[in-house]
Amino acid sequence: MHALTCFRVFYFLRMMMTTGSGLREVRKVASGEKVVEVIDLASAFEDDGLPELAGVNLQINAGEIVSLVGPSGCGKSTLLRLIAGVLRPIAGEIKVFGENKIPGWTRLSLVPQDALLLPWRTVLDNVRLPLELSAGKKKDTYLKAREALALANLTGVEDKYPHQLSGGMKQRAALARALVGQARLLLLDEPFAALDAITRSQLHLELLRIWERTGITVLLVTHNIFEAVFLSHRVLVMREKPGRVIGEIRVDLGFPRTLKLVGTTEFSRLVGQVQELLEEGWGEEACREEQGVKVL
């Protein structure tokens, strides 16, 4: 009867001891599989008569880390919500894992900007929440939540309430919650924006470590260009009014990455490229303004 429990404990301990291969073998993904496919997407019209997003095209392959950068108000977060399935597009198509339906937490999960932990639940119960919704209070869910917390490197605070945690710990808890269902697609909505620089760097490395371990596909929305280049395989640059993807920078810096990378010329060059692409987006805007076209 306790065989399963014993196995889980053993598995858990092994995972904690062997920093590395723990989950990777479990979730080997077929390379080249398209995890997200967005085709000619347009979102609902806003008050100014323009859709927030129009003509958005993008593709994310399995095991990739892709960043979306763009000026605030370009609809990055809206795009994430569309992919997550909480908003409906007015035109175009979104396929997640090749399907049109809403994926569910065991396939797609999200880390929001402000962690968004439920204040009346302890850290462990917050992490367990997605499992609790489908499986109730089974013992298994506690075990998996502890595993996820260990994976996000947040232990010893299971019984604390969110208000007792620092900003970085809250984000780690939100990350653990996103990992608890072993989702294959992780959406990150500016999860590091509210953190101080040192904590942010720590979490960057943490994310890369988790990615190496699990091979999870990551879509990161950010307005921090350094962050985007440091973490990603590809950086997609967006412009606003209406929001769409105007270009892509491939970051062929290899893995694993360390903070030393930030000082290299190659890194600076890539940051410069992203910057240029962003400015092109603003340029178009400026031109329209000069020609007397009403810019809304």
Binding site: R81, G104, L116, L118, W120, P130, L133
Partner: protein, 265 residues
């Protein structure tokens, strides 16, 4: 010099840590002393001394059953009315929070009923439901109902829409969103409504007793007024204050237990 300063600050820190425990008894003693002092200047008919009030209440309530009968009557009316009002307000507030049209339709009536002083409504309820305990329970229920209803609606509307979205992504059903998100986030609001409702329920019960009753603390107040028995009036006022403080403490403790994440840190 530094040693002396340190000694002083140690005493200060003890004082500052525990002063709140001294504050209450010292305050009560001071209040009683002031009362006793002031009562020396007036006729007992205007301001009886605390000792006189104490003696008069012992005299009146010399049979303990009589005292408890009046006290418990008001307590039962207020408590029963409170439970009835609060329990019926919660589901109603859920529907009104979910259906703004319904709320807009009913708001004029709610505002109207709330705008009328409860002392004016109490006689009506006494006419309809008699001089017994039922009419008082209903007055208390009515006044509790609206205070819990308004805070309940505000609480259920206070849910963070981003959290609602997050739970939707997790695949939560409508009921799961209610029990795991909407209800807990409304709890602090609901408790402030319950606290207010508890205090108002006592007022409602006494208003009902004023409008016509044969027992209860409101009846004692009426009786004492009729016979110009000021010490007895004071005794009834103090009993009512104790009742109100009791209700307040009850909700204070309940809130402390039910909302651990809002405790002072």
């Amino acid at each position: 010099m530094s040693g002396r300063a340190r000694g002083k600050s140690a005493l200060k820190s003890v004082m500052s840590r525990y002063y709140e425990y001294f504050l209450l008894p010292v305050g009560i003693a001071g209040f009683l002393y002031l009362w006793q002092y002031l009562s020396g200047f007036y006729d007992p008919f205007i301001l009886p001394s605390p000792r006189l009030v104490w003696e008069r209440s012992l005299e009146f309530f010399n049979q303990p059953q009589l005292f408890f009968m009046h006290f418990l009557t008001t307590l039962g009316e207020a408590g029963g009315g409170f439970c009835l009002g609060a329990l019926s307000a919660l589901p109603v507030s859920y529907f009104l929070a979910k259906k703004p049209v319904l709320e807009r339709l009913l708001t004029p009536y709610f505002v109207g009923i709330q705008a009328v002083p409860i002392v004016a409504l109490a006689p009506l309820l006494v006419i309809w439901f008699g001089f017994g305990i039922v009419s008082k329970v209903l007055v208390a229920a009515l006044i509790t109902f609206f205070s819990v209803l308004t805070t309940g609606i505000a609480g259920l509307r206070s849910t963070d829409p981003r959290l609602r979205e997050l739970l939707a992504i997790m695949g939560a059903t409508k009921w799961q969103i209610f029990f795991k998100l909407e209800f807990p986030s409304a709890l602090p609001y609901i408790f402030s409504g319950l606290r207010l409702g508890g205090a108002l329920a006592v007022i409602g019960a006494v208003s009902g007793e004023f409008a016509g009753a044969g027992k209860g603390l409101g009846y004692i107040v009426n009786f004492a007024r009729g016979s110009f028995d000021t010490p007895l009036l004071f005794a009834a006022i103090i009993a009512l204050a104790v009742l109100g403080i009791g209700f307040y403490l009850l909700f204070f403790i309940a809130e402390y237990l039910a909302i651990p994440w809002k405790r002072k840190r």
